[in-house]
Subunit: 351 residues, 2 copies
DNA sequence: TTGAAAGCGTTACCAC
DNA sequence: GTGGTAACGCTTTCAA
């Protein structure tokens, strides 16, 4: 059985390609179901289990996950979308998600939206084809199409890094604007009054825009005069954006004595540029960043910044998705939930 | 047809959950096959196509990719493994792969080995369950199990960032040791003789080890005396590792006047520490990095480094995989190929 | 140009 | 504890 006579030769393996579950079953002298049970860890007589395992090892059998998913109606995918892989805070968030989800056998489908909402929609649509169990997005801004297709999919959704007014399902994040306001107050408390802000040029980075908004609001609230805003550089904001932005700021408002940056990356670039211009930080000009990236700790001077638990956002999001998947919470019941992640202004040498 | 009488009410949709291809077919008044053809872009009468498309849109139908893959025997997955997501060179490589593969409808399954070969093997085994069309690994070191399971899978494999003596299938990379040797010569040409090297502590980062080996070889070849090696910090080497490593180096060999680092990250940390110690770079001590990361351009002083086209490694690997998948090149024919990526020593201010 | 039937490799369900 | 059978949702193949 299983043997075939072709051109007068006995061929023991009737099919090409990798071994199937039926091959394992045949070799082990059991049915496919028993093989399936061994693989799933269900109860099987020890002796049988051993024979099956032996056959699996001999053949180098690897179960086809797609077939399994189709049959059981349950995939093991989780779709995850971040604006940029190159940004260390988002890769930390992905690590957090991964740490939470991997132990449960879930496989992450990772997508990089490049801060482009249309691209996000394309990726969401494309990933939905794999029937993911749940999905994690970054930010609260999405196209109408994205929202619609997610609403229809009925799977758990978590939005990260923001606290949307009207979340699709769940959200894990913090108020970027309030964090920026806190930094303004910190600088004011240290005696700085002429405070500038280096933001990105595009409106795609909503979290960056929120920080800018917070800065503007608090400058007004504290009576610190007209905001001094430079908008320069495409998202993601990198170190290279800091120097030209600083130059622009000092070109326009030469008496500025403190600079808030939308990210530690540009803060670092700005500090290096200060040094090149012969300005001491913070004696001549203070510089503050955002994100508590590694560079803020290693730079000389160390950089005052807002610390955000990026990894924690990911692992919290992962936990929420897990419990939501487990309980099968129907989204139709609008049990929308927001979860706040802490942030702190960390006082260092630069401001 | 398709309607069911339940509790005296006519229910038009006989099943729960998301719409199926048969639902679309029913609504459009065609067979499943016609829907399938519309989706695949095969020839269908314009009027029919329009009706089908309308039904798809109305229902918000999303084809199940797993079912399609099972039926056609062809998945759309590519497995990609990198040692660390946080490292910008690997995320650049992933972007390069993504750019090459995405236009062909291939979906990347990304895994993070954390510089752990056993974890790599687990991930490879796990990803193989999704029947990927091909796989990209980082480095030339793998467990016996990894090699075996890949050999058996018979799918195209590309190893990146190294040039293995005996590649599994294809390889895209460069000689890390030769690049390091070139940097030693560069420093010697600039008049430096007392050259130290800051390496990582663990042997997991094979590319780092290769660089260290190259340094040692060239120090000997050039008659530059005993190597001055500090091994400190777990992979991935980060900015924070630079300062303590530099301290250790100067503690042990106080007259060192040039420092090569396994990465721009530690080079940056070392430079900041030099400043803290009151040492001018490069007047008192030269520092060179590796990788041409953004920080090497933005730092003051700018950092002399080895530039490697990380994105190019990814896109080249992607192209190789594509053509290998397209041609169905059987690996049994040992048509093993290695592809070299260029690197250059970039002279900047720090050395 | 379109449709019907037969799988793809697995798991759920129900017998034994 | 184990096995047979019928799906799962799609594409391939072949026929109309």
């Amino acid at each position: 059985m299983g043997n075939t006579r072709i051109n007068d030769r006995i061929v023991s393996d009737p099919h090409a390609g990798p071994p199937r579950m039926s091959d394992v079953a045949r070799i082990a002298g059991v049915s496919k179901m028993t093989v399936s049970r061994v693989l799933a860890g269900h109860s099987v007589a020890p002796a049988t289990r051993e024979r099956v395992q032996q056959a699996i090892d001999d053949l180098g059998y690897v179960a086809d996950a797609a077939a399994g998913a189709l049959s059981s109606g349950k995939s093991e995918f989780v779709a995850v979308l971040v604006p940029s892989l190159a940004s260390s805070n988002f890769s930390d968030t992905v690590r957090g998600l991964s740490a939470a989800l991997e132990p449960h056998g879930l496989q992450i489908l990772l997508g990089d939206t490049d801060y482009d909402l249309a691209r996000e929609e394309r990726l969401v649509r494309s990933m939905l084809r794999y029937q993911p169990r749940c999905i994690a997005l970054t930010g609260s801004q999405h196209t109408e199409g994205t929202r619609q297709v997610l609403e229809r999919s009925r799977i758990p959704v978590v939005e990260m890094w923001d606290l949307p007014a009207n979340p699709i399902d769940m959200a894990v994040g913090f108020s970027n604007s309030r964090a920026a306001r806190e930094m303004v107050r910190y600088l004011k408390d240290r005696g700085y009054r002429k405070i500038g802000f280096l933001a990105g040029a595009s409106d795609l980075d909503r979290r960056g825009l929120e920080r800018l908004k917070g800065y503007q609001q608090e400058m007004k609230a504290q009576g610190l005069g007209e905001p001094r805003v430079i908008r320069f550089g495409e998202s993601p904001i990198t170190m290279s954006h800091g120097a030209p932005a600083l130059d622009a700021l000092l070109g326009r408002w030469p008496d500025t004595n403190a600079v808030m940056c939308v990210s530690d990356m540009s803060a670092f670039g700005a500090i290096m540029q200060c040094h090149r211009r012969g300005l001491r930080v913070p004696a001549d000009i203070a510089v503050a960043g955002f994100g508590n990236f590694e560079v803020s700790i290693c730079c000389n001077p160390t950089i005052t910044t807002v610390s955000v638990d990026a990894y924690g956002i990911g692992s919290r999001a992962g936990q929420l998705l897990l419990s939501s998947v487990a309980s099968g919470t129907p989204r139709a019941v609008p049990e929308r939930r927001k979860f706040t992640i802490d942030y702190t202004v960390i006082s260092r040498e630069s401001a």
